[in-house]
Amino acid sequence: MKRLLLFAFLFNIVLAVNAQKYMTKNGYIGFFSHTPLEDIKGDNNQVAGVLDISTGEMVFQALIKSFHFDRALMEEHFNENYMESDKFPKSLFKGKITNLSSVDFSKPGTYDVTVEGDLTIHDVTNKISTKGTIEVVNGGLNASSKFKITPEDYKINIPGIVRDKIDKTLEVTVNMKYTPLASK
C-alpha cells in the first residue's frame, strides 16, 4: 500500500511536470501601420514561444527575415534600411504574466492577463507591459495580445520624407497556439 501511494505520488508529480510547459514553433506576430499611401503590414508565422504555466514566464523568439510583406520592395527596405536584419537577425521577448492566479488552466475559457517583460528589437531592449488573453482549450492554450510600439524607442530610423506620413506607433498582434511540451 505504501509503495502504491508512493507510486501514485510520483506519478502525479510526473504528470504535473509534463503539463507545465507549453510550446509552439508556428506562432504568429504581425504588425500594421496605416499611411495615406497604403497600409504597411508584415506577417511572421514562424515565431517560437514557450509558456511555463507554473511561473507565468513566457519567451518569444522570431527571425526578422521571417516577416513577410506583399510587396517585395517593402520587405527589402524593412530588412535592409530599418531593421538591419543581417546585423540583428533575431527579436526576443522575455516576460511574465503578472496576474497568473486569475487563470484557471484546468477550466476551458478565456482569461484576461497582463504581461510585463523585456522586448528586444534591433538590439535595443525596452520594458513593455501589455494586456492580452489566454484561452484554455482542449489540448492546448491560445494566447493573444495587441499592443503598440514606437520604432524610435528601438533606434529604428525612419527617413524624414516618410516619417511625417506614417504613424509614430505600429500596432503589433500576437497569436500563439501552444501545445503541451512532451518531456522525454
Binding site: 514553433k25 508556428n26 504568429y28 504581425g30 506577417d43 508565422n45 514562424q46 517560437a48 523568439q61 522570431a62 527571425l63 527575415k65 521571417s66 513577410h68 506583399d70 510587396r71 517585395a72 520592395l73 520587405e75 537577425p89 533575431k90 497569436n175 522525454k184
Partner: protein, 142 residues
C-alpha cells in the same frame, strides 16, 4: 516650334515616363515565384538542418535569402494565421526541423505526416529550426 526643341522635349518626356514606369514596376514587384525559380541549392532537410546546427554563421552566409529546393519527410502540418500553412520536415534531430511557410495556404488535406515531399522556398535563417518562406510544392511521393 523649332525641331531641336521638339526633340529635346520628347527626350525629357520619354525619360520622365520611363522613370515613373520603373518606379511603379519596383513598387509593385512581387516576390520571386519559387515554383518556377531556379534553386540555388538542392538539399535534403537532414543535411540543411545539420549545416545550421554545426555552424550557424557559415550556414547563414551560405543559405539566407537563397532559394533552396529541399526534400524531406513531413513531420507536422499546421495551418497558421493569415492564410498561411506551415509544414515541418524531419531532420536528424528530434528537437529541430525545417519549417516551411506556404502563402497563400494550399489545401492542407493534400498532405499527410510521413509523406516525402520536395519543396522550394527562400531561406530566412535559423531559430530553433531552419526557416523557409514563400514556399511552393515541387513534387510529392506517397
Amino acid at each position: 516650334m523649332k525641331f531641336q526643341v521638339k526633340v529635346a522635349l520628347f527626350v525629357v518626356l520619354a525619360i520622365a515616363i520611363s522613370g515613373i514606369l520603373y518606379a511603379l514596376y519596383m513598387f509593385n514587384m512581387k516576390h520571386p515565384d519559387t515554383a518556377s525559380a531556379k534553386p540555388d541549392f538542392v538539399i535534403t532537410s537532414t543535411i540543411l538542418q545539420k549545416e545550421f546546427e554545426d555552424n550557424e554563421k557559415e550556414a547563414s552566409a551560405k543559405f539566407i535569402n537563397k532559394i533552396l529546393e529541399v526534400t524531406g519527410i513531413i513531420n507536422s502540418i499546421t495551418p497558421a494565421d493569415s492564410n498561411h500553412l506551415n509544414i515541418s520536415l524531419k531532420t536528424g534531430s528530434d528537437l529541430s526541423s525545417v519549417i516551411c511557410t506556404f502563402s497563400p495556404r494550399p489545401d492542407a488535406s493534400k498532405f499527410y505526416t510521413g509523406e516525402e515531399i520536395t519543396l522550394r522556398g527562400e531561406c530566412s535563417g535559423f531559430l530553433m529550426d531552419v526557416l523557409l518562406n514563400n514556399c511552393s510544392i515541387i513534387s510529392e511521393r506517397k
